[in-house]
Symmetry: C3
Subunit: 345 residues, 3 copies
């Protein structure tokens, strides 16, 4: 297997074996974080981080990843450039991508739904960058997918059901029950993290329960892919619309707010309306009472957590909360992916 030069825009674009190659390397790197085996892999190399949308965790973890691999990550925002859009003259993606590839060994892009004219346009832009640039393009969260988060999630789950931090057991996830539930919240969140989590959970052999109020459907194409993943692994996929349903027998509970498919109308993001609507479902919060009905499930969340809306403090800061381990795993999976695709490892 040779991952040199590969893009990573969605975990579904990579074979299971390719994902496992990255995850296995990530565990080795986590067990021995500053070993000289890793700290010279991208020595003197540049990684460009292109943030159309701001971020703390993604910025910190990618920039630290490059520092730990011996290289340097540059932080860029689109206001730093003059890019061609429907409304203004400027540089084409062809030109931008070809030039960046002369300077950098890889490029990461983050672009969410509020920066694009329609759902999916962000993901398309990443794929256009990937077409023109002859260095790897990484999705640092777009309007559809968030592959690094998906890898960090599954690594964390496999650590909690394996032998702990740095000692994941991926086979232990097979046949476990994964519940992903919509949650109330005041942040009108993107679909990328939850869609990626569903794809990853289904590919790693888990039964998947998706719970949300009527009116909060996710992308039907992604859901069809999740269904197919489950079918291929011989697991169950079910959808429920009751805030109390689905917890029985659950091993992993993922509770997070996301916006409705109506958030964007007429090219406008109706953010305040979405927030007000979401706050009308206070019963869609993950509580210790609900967790008590599971099979001693762990709590997972891509952070930032909207405590008090999505989940109670008792659960988020409780003994079965995997959130900080998973946040840390962002660093390790990104190091592994960059080492394999940019580092000729």
């Amino acid at each position: 297997m040779d991952l040199y030069g590969r893009d990573l825009i969605c975990t579904q674009d990579w074979s299971f074996e390719e994902l496992m190659a990255a995850l296995d390397l990530a565990a080795k790197m986590k067990r021995d974080r500053f070993n000289p085996r890793w700290t010279r892999i991208l020595e003197h190399r540049t990684f460009i981080m292109f943030f159309y949308n701001p971020s703390v965790r993604t910025r910190l973890s990618f920039e630290a990843a490059m520092t730990e691999l011996g290289g340097h990550a540059q932080f860029m925002t689109p206001s730093a450039g003059r890019f061609k859009t429907q409304k203004q003259a400027g540089e084409t993606i062809e030109d931008a991508a070809k030039v960046m590839a002369r300077y950098a060994a890889g490029i990461g892009i983050r672009i969410l739904e509020d920066k694009v004219p329609y759902y999916g346009a962000g993901d398309e832009m990443l794929r256009e960058y990937a077409y023109w640039a002859d260095v790897p393009i990484f999705n640092m969260a777009d309007d559809k997918f968030h592959p690094m988060q998906g890898l960090a999630d599954v690594m964390g789950w496999a650590e909690w059901y394996g032998e702990g931090p740095g000692r994941p057991d991926y086979s232990a996830l097979e046949g476990k029950k994964f519940v992903l539930t919509w949650a109330s919240g005041a942040l009108a969140r993107s679909w990328c993290s939850v869609q990626e989590a569903l794809l990853v959970a289904s590919r790693f052999g888990m039964h998947v329960t998706l719970a949300y109020p009527e009116g909060y459907d996710l992308d039907p194409e992604v859901i069809a892919q999740v269904r197919q993943n489950c079918q291929e692994r011989g697991t169950d996929f079910e959808v429920v619309h009751d805030p109390e349903a689905g917890y029985e027998g659950a091993h992993i509970v993922y509770a997070r707010n996301w916006m409705s498919p109506n958030a964007y109308r007429d090219g406008v993001f109706h953010k305040q309306e979405e927030i007000e609507k979401a706050l009308q479902y206070p019963e869609w919060i993950l509580t210790a009472e609900k967790m008590a009905r599971t099979d001693n499930a762990i709590f997972t969340h891509p952070m930032p957590v909207d405590r008090g809306h999505e989940v109670t403090d008792e659960v988020a800061s409780g003994p079965r909360s995997a959130i900080y381990d998973i946040a840390e795993n962002r660093l390790h999976v990104q190091k592994a992916v960059m080492a394999l695709t940019m580092g000729n490892l």
Copy 2:
């Protein structure tokens, strides 16, 4: 003495011996800036610089310090994240601090009075970060204190009364007369630098004269601490309200503008009002004539200098101006503190 893991939020939080450990290492580092003994201490490590308020000197000197210690400093602003405040949903300090500590070996925060609801709230926020993060938290200037500036100041004074750059003599400061005077100015400045300077000067055994117009009191708790420091060292502390008083016999003169205690009323920073009021005291400027009445005193200032308001060009660019040496010392004291607290030195 083991400073590994220690926060630095105010110099008063550290013992005199601990401060001297940092200052002695800073002098060694200044004398031999790029020696391999220092350049690998934080190799591949990340330091997070969190700037609620912008800065040139602090940013440059912290980022250069990490580069010179072999690591990397990330520049972050709060607009890059979604932090919970009284007015908006977002991430708690608990979550932010715990995650950042997974990626970074240390965190610096700068937050001044215009970004907090009441005086002291910035300092409290730093202490909350320190509570949750298990890596060192450094104060890069908050609404009360500015410890790195205080260390750079005293190092500079001890160099000028010692054997020059990189050869400070701290015992030479004992019994010297330190005059800190309010000055006119158009920048309505924070209290942090001057309060830290008073704490440091009094702990290093100097007689302290504090001069300001009626109505420009500093934090009474800090002043009480300065008084106590002087008492413990057996030195004098006096307050005068005359722009001509206090210069006789002075060895170090620190002239700087600061805002009045009334700058914040009803949660609003009355900046323009403060500036107009301060400009009504043009006689509170440090001149060569005043300096001529001292015991050949040096001029000290944390910069940026508001020339023409706080001090004349003749003094600021004159032969007894220590300002550039002290600015440079920011780099060296920060390197020393980071090496000791983050670097397991």
Copy 3:
């Protein structure tokens, strides 16, 4: 020859031999980009990039250059500081430059015409920084000149008329015909790149044809210098005002929009007016038809290219387009200049 400590504000400030020293080193660095001979030259050193105006290519290439030389480039914008201007109190250039020189081994500044009160004020500011700072000051594009672009241009031309990437032949440029033509466009561009290109082309022994519509004169002092350069090299310099003229026998065609001398009136940048005016000259676009009348000329442009206004896609993406190679050369010439001036090489 010793370039240690030298500023680079315009290529005309350096002797031909000094420019060749930088260009020869750039070619060596390009041929063997990550050789340890280069990667330690600025180890642990800091370069400050001061961007009054944003940029993608300049930022990326300078920051990558420092990473590849072993050091680190800090990204700063003036909003990060409180600088003295005619309208506000703040820090003087004297103080800013002297302090930065304590932290950094070199300083780059980018300031274009929209950030200064009159044409030439940006270039003057750079020279004031150079006066006060005792580390090299580099022009990263100001209102008059863009020396790194000029060096990258001539390196690219010499590669295309030499033996290809990394194998330039500068003598092959002597006696060649260089055509620099104004082009339509929607970006109202600065004069710095084209003025620098004219200076460089004339110094390297090329015949120079400058084409533009009446009303688009460049700086008469720069044009006088170009004339003198041509005279010294015994080459021709001509000005034409016909969009079809000058192409016969051309070897290098540089087509780019620039603003008229009337763009700034009463201290205001009439940007929209400039754009509207420029768009009234659609015949001033570089086409394959025009290129067919040359002596198989290459197309050169400093990027970003305003495709469809300045040049057709057919030319910009065609087999004789040197634009990506020249963009890459920014990295190599900057590495060479920084190594020679900051690195004591």
